[in-house]
Structures are given as structure tokens and as C-alpha cells.
Symmetry: D3
Subunit: 210 residues, 6 copies
């Protein structure tokens, strides 16, 4: 008797997963795998899963860098799961900066929506710095995994939209990786050639220890 | 003697290609391969290769659809070659439309920059239509290869920025594939169930023959 | 005590999943991910998981198009999960047609087994139509995501076998995407340039609404 | 003056390669790369590039194995370049055999077109043999890189069509890898546990030396 | 009431999976998918997940081949899941041998740590054998899926470290695939041209049947 | 007449490239593409193309970091082209260090061959530092694109072998990216929060300007 119900249940469940194609909206409550989250059942997917409103609200620029970020990666926008693209909105106050960072898993394409931004990235094979000042609708591309930065080099608030060649590009900010954790000062000094005094000063500033 | 010069020449040439990494800016004058264009030699690459100004000029909306497109795919922006991302700018006049089309090789992510747009796509496994009206900074994602469209559903010019998960997404507009070529009317009719009269009318309108 | 049993249970379960390699036969009752279904435990896999008999039965050609299709995609043939290939059998009555459609996720390779078929596809970059009439054992390839069709152009039933470069190619038939759902007539008209009258006629024919 | 002509020439050449998308028909006269051959210029591509007639002629079965093979890999059918699919036709005389082999770069899907075939493959993690006898329209899948074979187990000529998840699957026949080259008998013996006498007998049979 | 708890629980669980990026340490107790195991929750990951001590113990060389192997594939070293790399340690007694085998899913790179090894692989397109004798710190690469072997050709124990371009390369040893299972002698003979007597002798030696 | 010779020549050339499979040994004198170098013709490939002796010579440790590196990436070892793997040898003097760096395009797997090394990497999503001290035959994995370092934490010279999941992983050393080029001090300061004085000191030390 129990087996019979199990069989029926199994058929019902099977049916609900049987059409995996076109998209795989993330179900964040289920275990993930190397290529992304598990999919919601197709029957529970609606147009709202492919829509994201979160970029309408700028991130606060009331911080040291004068930078506000609103994210649309897969964990904020589950409809991106498995589709190989994501985005963010960057607001920079006058004099604001997006600190030096890299995205381990994606190329980035930046378009300027308002104001003037100076963007730069550093190549890995010869440490050459590629810097360019961009105005409204100018586009720049930053190859995967390379260090890059943005500075508001104009006299007004700047606004940019960035898209990425992965639904989850990752983000490693150099200053945070060095100073905003328990990375021992001695090891930071040894592996970056920075002075211990400098390291301790920035750890204090950014909330790091050790 | 000749061999010695050949050897030296060979070393020089080798050196110029020996550091393929980080990026591969397209040399459009050389043969391409399945994954993209040949790379410029690293020594000839500058910051301008990663920068594109072409989206600052809107495409003309003085056409039947009231739609202007400016492209930043790899053939317009050679720095994208091999980096898995590209973009375009879409200007829609009041009442304008981006006709039904698909991108065979990429997912598309659209962000609204100005105005109001109604976007929709059609799934392949059950022909379900997912439609959503978007305002400034709203984002929508269209999975790879699916038919989709955009309509200016507001009272002002609309402006959107689209990015793609490939440097060369392709673009197949349904009306052009059916009516803007020499696809024989009889075959179009048979494979789409459209009436021959309708087909001939649209072929005349769009410049098709047969 | 409970923990000890849990520990033992955990080891047993771990053992059953510990050898993921060679293949991953789909367990359609478990959640799927972006790259396919979850795998059955290796111990439960038999030779029958790699075998499919479903193509021996032709799909009925008793329909408007005179086309019968039998599928061997991953949801019919779970052994294909993760292996990057699938197939189908197409039977076309005299005068029958495989209506215009695309596969968003795969290239298609068609071989003719019986009769004479006219195949065509449309490129995305210049709307060029590539058409060819094929006889027994002739092969044609249709690149990923492009619109294509087949017509029985002979005097006998035609039979073809198609294979795909994905275990789940998807299938978007243009007429069904336009007319076999609730896609509003006004939007179809605006985005395809078709007349409302034509659209309503085909919606009635194919079971669409709106 | 020379520069001006060079400039014009450069534009012409660029134009001819500027639209790499949809497909990349192989130009076998140009250097290849890790993912395939260089592309023909789009302007020189015709419908015949996507069409292959070579499978209409069976390979001769007048050999030791009673097996005839006609290939449609990318070097025979250049339109497959970059498209991730290929195929072959296998004719087996009564009692004929496709000797044990593997395809290093692709999964294989076999469909029976005539007769009765016994197919088998061997898993890599536990050496388990999966064997199945197939009749007309039965399908079997062989995961990438695994050893497999086919035998005509019926009383009539058998005919099968195989497709592959790569345009160039490779083919390594075990008996040929061991005995049809200059692989020293002593090394074959040591690395396969076969007797030297057996090895020398098969080297003589298959044309090997050493 | 139950729904409320369910809701809270769901949020908690979601939080624990919400940051899939950088790595995906395998949870061997959960179902796997085509690209690897499910991920442990980020909160439970420690430095020990990225560390493996198992290669410090050589595999026993007290066997027919005089070969000891210690593995670091994903099922032994779960931190490799999804990262596209793995390794093993090979100890060969004097006269020892790594029997002829292939890795269906990975290229192999071998470095010699101690002693002298003769390595060889066989190409698939012309059965050519590439053989090389290697000493300390020499490196050899074996392309994916090709048959290869190693022999201790020196007078001392040899030690090598191999790494692979996949977290789960698979391993198919020719002699085991032929003789260490229930592959019927008649089918082995037919598909490899070996004599039945030879096959039965090796089946007896290696523990095969049939 | 000329055409006839051209035709013959074309056939000869075609023949030499017609068998691209198994491997693609780099020809560094030809243009590269996004996925690697052009292939040598198969006829010119020998066993030496798959063999590399360059790791037998340690890199000099007579430098600030006490670190010597010998590379086996695709530009040093052309046989790796397209095969998805590469390696290097790291010699660290007592107290030596491999400065903080990332590989934009590959996961790294490190095995200790001699001595004691402390390895660490920093995750991108929470800046957590994973540190571990390793002895002979211990293995550690560093996920793609993340900052990491190694320190000789023992009393003897240390020796490690690293392999990578790409034939060209790239290498971006943080201190060199910041201080060993013309990256303007003001921009470095603004994007890393470092003091200008510290930056100028390290630019002087490492050879940077501006």
C-alpha cells in the first residue's frame, strides 16, 4: 500500500521537474552545485522571476569611498541562474571611487549613464595599466580576473551600469582582502612588501584584526 | 645565410605572438575561427582597444518600427573578441517597437535607461508568453535563443541598454527571416501556415522576393 | 545514540554517490540544476538506462502538418543527461511539413532514411536562405538557434533521423509561439507586421486566444 | 599612394571576415587552432557547405572485421566545423564487428537502421560491461571516452547511423593501437599482460612491427 | 502556524546556500549532477577542505604491476569539486609498470619526482606511438582520452606526480576492461582479435569470468 | 596553368592540416586566437613536442623575495596548447616568499616536494583567509582568480610543484600591479587607501614610476 502511494507521489514529483530547458530559476532553499543553484519547478515560474527592480534604488554613497552599489547577481535575481549574465549599478559621489578589485569569474562591460568616470585595469602579463576617461554612453571592457578601478573624475555625481559574463562574477577588493579580515600583519607585510605600520593603519580603518 | 635570417625572423615573429593571455583584441584582417577572430599582437594593443564610443550616437528611429539600434558586438568593438560579452543601445520612438527576434548564441539582459518599455519572451517548451512592463532601472533577462520583443508603451521616447553573454550573439528577426529575402512564398506559407496574400504583402513592404 | 546511527547512515549514503564519473543517468524525481538533472546512484544503473526503444514507434502524422515526431531528449531518455547529445525521428506524410522552428540550445544534424526531403535554414546575419533537397543517406546540418524547416518534396512517405549537440535542445515553432498561446493579437501584429485578421485566423486554427 | 591602396585593401579584407557568427565553414587550407579550422569567408559559403552526400556510399565490408564505415567528421564535411556534432554510417556484414574502440572527444549515439546489432561499452570506474541487443530504430548511447564495440548478431546485413557530440570525436581502436604500429612488443606485453607470442601474431596480422 | 515556521525555516536554509561562488566543496551525502557534487554550505567550509594529506602515503607496490597509486580526485579530496583539476601520486618499484590506460575526461601532465620513467601515448588518428624517457623534473603531457603507459626504466624506485584537467578524470585500464569483469570471452575475442586461450588465461589472472 | 598549380598546392596544404584532433601543438610564429595558438601541422609533430625539460633548472632565488620560478605554460611548452593544463616549479629560499598574486584564468593545485610551506588564499565573498602549513606531499588547491601566497615557513629550502587548470593561467602579482609600472601614485592611493609615501617607497623599490 505504502509503495503504491510512493509510486504515485514519485510520478507527480517527476512530472514537475521533467522539462528542464530554456531557463532554471534558482530555488535558493535547495543545495547548489558547481554550476549554480537548483531550479524551481517550471510550474511555479512566472514573469516576475525574469524581472528585477532592485537597481532602481541606488546604493548609499555615504561611505569612505563615496561609492554606492546595487547588485543584480544570481543571489539577488534568481532568474539569472545558469544564464551566464548579471549586472550592477554603480553610483559615485563627486570624488568617489570604486576601489581596486577583480572579478574572479567574469569579464565586465561598463557603460556610463551619467557624468564622467576614469576607468583603468592592469594586465597580468606585463603589469601595463590601461586607463581611459569615459563620458555618457561610452563603454569599456575589463577582461576576466584583472585588477581594475573607477574614479569619478567629473564635477557631478556619476552613474554607471556594469554587466558581467557570469551570473555570479565574484568580487575581490584588494584593500578588503588585505586589511578587512584577520590576515596577520606579518604575512601581509611579507607577501605585499607593505610596511607593518601602513598595514596596521588600514586594518584599523577598515575593521581588520591581527 | 638565408637560414640564419629566417631563424632571426622567426624568433621576432614568435615573440610578437608569444603572450596570448588576458585578452585577444580582434584583427579583422586575418582569418577567424569557430571561437572568434585572430588576435592583434600584444605590442599593438592600447587602451583604445578596450574602449568604444559608438553607443553615444543613437541609431535613427526614422523607420517603420520607430526603432534605432547602435551595436557594440565584436565586429564593431574588436576588444570584446573572446571575452564573452557584448552590448547594444536601443532607442524607441513613442509607439516604437523592437520586432520579434531571437539571439541564437546568447542570453540578453536589458536595463531601462529612460521611459517605459513592455518586454516579452516566449518559452520553447510550452509557448508560454512572459510579459512585463519596465520603467527606469528595471532589468529583465531573456534566456538564450528564445523569441522576444520590446514595445515603447509610454508617452516619451524610451531608451534601453542591452548586454549579452557572448561577444557575438547573432540576431534573427522573425519578419526579416520570413519576408526580407528570397524565401519562396509557397514555402513560407507551408511552414508557417500564413496565407500567401499576407506573405506577398509583407515581402513587398520589407523588400523580399519570390 | 541517534548521532551514531546518523553517522552510519551518512556514510552509507555518501558511498552511493561517491563515484560520479563516466555518466549521470537522470533521476527525474530530484531537483534539476542549470546543466541537467540529478544523477541516479551508480548502483541502480543498468544497461537499460543507456538504451531507448521509443523511436521504433512513429509519431502520428494525422495532423495539419502531416508530421509525426518521436523524441529521444533527456526527459524521454534519462541516460542522455549530461552527455551532450539527443535525437528524434521525423515521419512526414506525402506533402507533409516540419513547420519553421529553431532549437535554442543545439545544432541539428539530419540524415534522410527514406524518401525525399527539402530542408532549409535562414542565417541570422543576412537573412540568407540555404535550401537543399535531400535523398536517402544525405546529411544536412543546421547551426544552433537558426530558423529551419523540412518539407516532404517526394511522392512517398519520408523518414529522417535528427541528432542534436545537446541532451535538451529545446524547440520553438514559430507558428505556435505566435498563435498557439495568449500572446495578444495587438502585440503579435506590432512585433511581426502581420495583419490582425491573419493573426486571429491562425489563433483560431491553432488554439490560441487574445 | 601605396598607403592609400593598402588602406583600401585592408578594408576589403576586413569586410570579408567581419561577420563571424552562425557558422564557421572550415577552410582546410589555412592553419587550424585548438577548437577547429579557420572559417571560409562568409561570401563564399553556399548551401552545399551544409550538405554532405558521402554517407550514401557504404564503406567496403570486404575486410577482416566485415565492417564498412563512411565518415562525416569535420575533415570530410567542413560545414560541421565549430558546430559540435558529426556522424558516420556503419555497415556490418553477417558476423561482422566494429572492433573495441573509444572516441576520446565525444559521446556517441547509435541508431539501428537495418538488422540486429549487439552493442556494449565498459565503464571506467568499475569495469562493468553494459551490453544490449538492438533492432531497427533502437537507440543506444556510449558516454565519452569509454571502450565500446558492436557486433552484427543477426542473420542479415546490419546498418547503423552514429552521431557524436563533437565535430571531431577521434577514434582509437584498441587492436590497432596495440598491434598496427611500431609499439615494441616488449612494452605491449608489459603494459597489457598479453603474451609476446600473441602480440607478435597480431602485429603480423595487422601490419605492425617491433 | 506551521506555514509560518516553514517560512522562517525556508529563509534560514536559503541564507546558508545564498553565496555560491569561488568554490563548491562537495557534500558527498547529497545527490550529484552532471558537473559534480552538491556544495557544502559556505558556513561549514574550513581551510581543511582545500587541503589533502593523502598523497603522503604511497600506494602499495606489492602487486603484479609493482605500481602503487594514491589518489586525489574529487571523491577523495572534496574541495576539488567544480574546480577542474585533480592529481595522483605514482610509485613504481624497479621494473614496475603503470599498465596501458586512458582517462576519458582529462588531459594528464606528469612530472618525475624520483628515478627514471619511460612514458608513452598513442594518437587516435594514426596510431602513432610517442615514447620518451624522463628523469627528475622532466614533464610530459598526455592528451585527453588517449591510451598511455609508464614503465620504471631505471634501477631505483621511481616516483611521479600527475595532475589532470578535471576533478574527476576517470581511469580505464585496458587489461582490466578486457579481463577483470564478465565481458564474455567470445565477445572479447571477436572485438580485439585476441585468441580465446589468451583471454581465458588473463581472465584467470585478473579475476574475470565468462 | 597558374590555376592548376594553385589547385595542386591547395590540395597539398589542405592535406597537412586535415587531421586536427587529439592535440594542437602551438606554432608560435602564426597568429593566435581566443582559445590559443595555431597548430603545427601534424606531420611535423614529434614526441619532443609533448616533453619539457625546463623544470629541471630551478629559477634563481637570488632576489628580494627569495623565490625562484621555472614555468611550463604554453608559451614555454607549446605541446600544452589547447589541452587545458600547465605547471610551474617554485623554489623558495629559507624565509622566501611567493608574493600575493592571482591567476585570472585557472585554479591552482600545489604539491610540496621538499620542505615546509605556509599557503593561504582569500575568498572573494567574505574576505575570509584560508591558511594552512604544508609538508612533503601535502596538497592544497586555490580556486580560480583568488589572491594567494606561499611562504617558506621551515628551516630548509622549500620546493613545490604547481599545476593549473589552463594552459595559460596568467599571473597578476599585487605588488607589481600596484608599484612596478606607471600607475599614478595618486590613483593607487585613491583606489587602495594606501598612503602616497608608502606607494612612492615601493615604486622606488620595484622600479615603478609616476
Amino acid at each position: 500500500m505504502r509503495l503504491r502511494y510512493l509510486f504515485i507521489f514519485s510520478l507527480l514529483v517527476a512530472a514537475s521537474y521533467a522539462l528542464v530547458q530554456d531557463f532554471c530559476v534558482a530555488d535558493l532553499s535547495l543545495p547548489a552545485g558547481p554550476t549554480g543553484y537548483s531550479c524551481k519547478t517550471p510550474a511555479s515560474v512566472t514573469e516576475n522571476d525574469f524581472f528585477y527592480h532592485g537597481l532602481a534604488t541606488p546604493g548609499s554613497t555615504n561611505n569612505r569611498a563615496g561609492a554606492g552599489v546595487s547588485w543584480a547577481f544570481d543571489s539577488q535575481f534568481p532568474g539569472l541562474n545558469g544564464l551566464g549574465i548579471s549586472s550592477l549599478r554603480l553610483d559615485l559621489a563627486v570624488g568617489g571611487v570604486a576601489p581596486l578589485h577583480s572579478h574572479p569569474a567574469a569579464t565586465e562591460l561598463v557603460v556610463i549613464v551619467e557624468g564622467t568616470l576614469t576607468l583603468g585595469f592592469i594586465s597580468s602579463f606585463d603589469d601595463k595599466v590601461y586607463i581611459k576617461t569615459l563620458n555618457k554612453w561610452d563603454v569599456m571592457v575589463v577582461p576576466q580576473g584583472l585588477l581594475h578601478f573607477a574614479i569619478n573624475s567629473g564635477n557631478t555625481t556619476a552613474l554607471a551600469f556594469a554587466s558581467f559574463s557570469s551570473q555570479n562574477p565574484g568580487l575581490q577588493t584588494t584593500a578588503f582582502a588585505l586589511f578587512k579580515n584577520d590576515f596577520p600583519t606579518e604575512l601581509v607585510a611579507k607577501t605585499t612588501f607593505l610596511d607593518a605600520e601602513q598595514i596596521k593603519k588600514l586594518k584599523a580603518l577598515l575593521g581588520g584584526t591581527n
